[in-house]
Amino acid sequence: MNRPIRRVSAVLALLLLALIANITIIQVFRAPDYRDRPGNQRQLLAQYDRERGPILVAADPAARSIETGDTLRYKRVYSNGPLYAPVTGFYSLVYGATGLERTENRILNGSSDLLFVDRTKQLFAGRQIQGGAVSTTINDRAQQAAFRGLGAKTGAVVAIEPSTGRILASVQSPSFDPNLLSSHNPAEIRAYYEKLSADPKKPLLNRPLVGLNPPGSTFKLVVTAAALASGEYTAETLLPGPKTYTLPNSTKELNNWTGKACSASGMISLKDALAISCNTAFAWLGNQLGAEALRNQSELMGFNTSFQIPLRAARSTFPEDPDAPQTALSSIGQFEVRATALQMAMVAAAIGNKGVTMNPYLVQEIRGPDLSILQTTLPSVFKQAMTPAHAASETDMMVNVVNNGTGSNARIPGVAVAGKTGTAQTGNERPSIAWFVAFAPANNPQVAVAVMIEEAGTSEISGNGLAAPIAKRVIEAVLLDSKTNLR
């Protein structure tokens, strides 16, 4: 009987191998998929079981974890939820995480390799693993100023430190309260989330980083930079600025926002054309330079690139292959030109920073649970967008916009503010978008800011009227802050 016994034991060995192969498939190959299935509470509970690190604005936590004493041991609380929501995002039982909560999750939950030493220490001390902290680049005063400035309007503000690319403010309106999405009550979370989702103003949209809109006249800054770069134009070069500009190969006409010619003579200098935001002159100029030159200039300033700051910002776009009339429209920031507030702040920052576009970033430092610095983000150059001389020239033109042109509401006594207004049509029937981009002080800018307000009036004045005062408040907040710091 030994032969059949051996055969049967071979079959049993095969069964054993089948079991081992099967658990290997489950525990190794399918495990990542199973772990992420929505019905699997384990990952979530494990995450709620350790103290998640704080997200810091300066020294104060914008987000932190507090002990609850219930099944989910820690709860996420946001000290000023709506203010910092576009930065922190939320950390929800039901809807996962967004913002820095998502991108810096491995730091905050303590699983990052950067925290290896801390983890080991905690393990040996027999303590619960604690997450690391994330210090943001946010300037609290600037953030508050922008938030208060936006008030009930729908829009976004981004402020950047031109020399580094540090994001000083990133504000949206309407915002939401991440506390209500990060509670431990799924029913409450769902109700709030559904209410937010249904809101036509889209409070869950991260407007400063992913809200794409035509930049309107603020895009003339890019055209101006391209004109200077071509070597054929200076601030004083005269451009034709008639009452209407007939689009090439077409009968359609483009008007100035004033409805008049840009000057009595019909000719206007580049500097003045920028100051009064002369559409006909820039439409003509754009076609002289060509779409290629405009696209190149825009790309040097960050268009057509998707930045991760580390939140993923939307890619601002300059159209692929516009014909002559489309190029003319693109030159005044219409047609298919789309930009985020972050992008327009980067344009201003590049001009202010002697023509150097910096990579924008939101995380200043990664810190251990004891707040010791583990990693510091170093500023990095994205592209040299302009020569320093051209940048200086364009800066002068932008100061002129504020002092003598459309950007009067951004004036700050004793401070040279460089700015540009913009109003963009988003469609025939829809309300326009008001823009204001600026940096200050002009000769050594501490801050570049872009303010975008949706559902503004239809006039070019709205950029100055609605957006410029907010930009001014943000600039003042940063300048005041740097003065205080110097003292």
Binding site: M1, N2, R3, P4, I5, R6, V8, S9, L12, A13, L15, L16, A18, L19, I20, N22, I23, T24, I26, Q27, V28, R30, A31, P32, D33, Y34, R35, R37, G39, N40, Q41, R42, Q43, L45, D70, T71, G126
Partner: protein, 464 residues
């Protein structure tokens, strides 16, 4: 005869066995300490008493084996001890999880299962010792072949007897007498294995006779089909009336394999396989509970919060364990329903990972391999069939339940031998170990040769 007067002192490996048992015990203590540390429970006095009792019980079994079965296989006892200890550890772990959960919900603390299981272990040890002592020679069991067969059948149908029968979770496999409940199927498993072995030893020649050839393979005469049909019908009956898919599968598989081993005829495997496919297909279409099991297996996420819940939770547990596991006391094993019975492997897989589960499966592999080795080594046919049958019950049961919990095959309720919480199963499996030890003692005993009944007769004939 030469071998009768060779008094060589062959090593009997009892000291190896003792050291391995101590090793298993130390591992268990370490695991308990780890759980105490990780869950913040610490090592309580009852836990120290528990581990001490476990140690004493294990050593007691060793002493009995040393005295009464001194040439027994030295691996069987330590491996079974280690598996039992791991089971106790995991049951304790799940007790802790349950009490922590109750604490959080301000509920009254649940009764821990580990002490009940410890008591059952003590009963198992008593039966183990009784089996070793009472069954001084396994061949004596052969005399009661039909008695065991009858008892086995009675045990199988016992849960269907009105007053004492008891249905738990849809399966009628419990008997409750005087407040004590047990699963007679576990006893039936052993009784019927003895019956199969005894029956097949006497009938194997006629069963091996070939009459009809179909496709070049010889098939048995219709009148010899009786036993396999009876086994099949019994299995189907268990399935139909007791809703116990696992036991049904186990018995039929066991019988077919033993029939094949006894007769060496592959035709029995083909017949058995065909009957299995027929029975399984009919059962799928005829019984909702079978259909549900198969559907869950096919797509557990089809109904993840209801019928598929157990399996889905089991897979989540295994997945969260990954390669090395969360560590004892650091996972969420209590998320899986029935974590300390049917799904104990999922709980172990979560906390010990793939590494731990592979080690566990290899322990079972070693156990079965030692059983089969015993079967090959023992000289009498009954002993061979019995040892192989007992090893098969273990192996098949492990495959059916672990395969079910890990979604290799449809899930059928069976306990995981030695690990699962439940007295009948633990006691029955320890009796299996006792029988295997008894047979292996005979197989490995070098100096005394006691002729079996058959062979004694042969010798008589020769002398005449």
């Amino acid at each position: 005869m030469a071998f009768q007067n060779v008094p060589t002192r062959q090593p009997n490996r009892r000291t190896t066995e003792l050291l391995l048992i101590i090793g298993a015990w130390v591992l268990g203590v370490a695991a308990a300490v780890q759980i105490g540390w990780a869950t913040g429970e610490g090592m309580t006095v009852p836990m120290w008493i528990t581990v001490t009792i476990i140690g004493v019980l294990a050593i007691a079994m060793h002493v009995v084996v040393r005295i009464r079965a001194s040439y027994a296989d030295p691996i069987l006892l330590p491996v079974a001890t280690l598996l039992t200890v791991l089971g106790l550890v995991m049951i304790y772990r799940i007790d802790v999880a349950a009490s922590l959960r109750a604490e959080r919900n301000n509920a009254p603390p649940p009764t821990p299962d580990v002490y009940a299981q410890l008591t059952w272990f003590a009963v198992a040890v008593l039966l183990f010792v009784a089996t070793i002592i009472l069954v001084s020679d396994h061949r004596r069991l052969q005399r009661f072949t039909f008695t065991f067969g009858l008892l086995g059948l009675v045990a199988l149908v016992l849960p269907l007897v009105p007053v004492i029968g008891n249905t738990v979770n849809g399966a009628t496999l419990w008997v409750r007498v005087f407040g004590l409940s047990f699963q007679p199927a576990e006893a039936a498993k052993i009784l019927l294995t003895i019956f199969f072995a005894g029956y097949l030893v006497t009938k194997r020649d006629s069963l091996a006779l070939v009459r009809t050839k179909i496709f070049g393979i010889g098939f048995p005469r219709p009148k010899d089909l009786g036993p396999i049909l009876v086994a099949w019908l019994v299995s189907v009956a268990v399935l139909v009336f007791e809703h116990d898919l696992g036991t049904s599968l186990l018995f039929f598989g066991l019988f077919v394999f033993m029939l094949y081993i006894a007769t060496q005829r592959r035709s029995w495997l083909i017949l058995g396989g065909t009957l299995f496919v027929l029975g399984a297909t009919a059962a799928y279409f005829a019984f909702a509970h079978v259909r549900i099991r198969v559907d869950i297996w096919w797509d557990p996420w089809g109904d993840p919060n209801n019928t598929g819940y157990q399996l889905v939770q089991s897979l989540y547990g295994l997945a969260s364990g990954g390669m090395f596991g969360s560590g004892l006391g650091q996972g969420y094993p209590d998320f899986v329903p029935f974590a300390n019975t049917d799904f104990i492997v999922a709980a172990l897989g979560e906390e010990l990972g793939l590494t731990g589960l592979c080690a566990l499966l290899l322990l079972y592999g070693v156990l079965v391999e030692r059983g089969i080795r015993t079967a090959i080594a023992v000289r009498d046919s009954f002993g061979q069939l019995l040892a192989v049958g007992l090893s098969l019950t273990l192996a098949l049961q492990v495959f059916v339940i672990i395969g079910g919990v890990t979604r290799l095959i449809p899930l059928t309720g069976l306990t995981t031998p030695f690990l699962s919480y439940g007295g009948s199963s633990l006691v029955a499996n320890w009796v299996i170990i006792a029988l295997l030890i008894r047979i292996s003692d005979r197989a490995r005993r070098p100096d005394v040769y006691v002729p079996s009944v058959d062979e004694a007769l042969t010798q008589v004939v020769r002398k005449v």
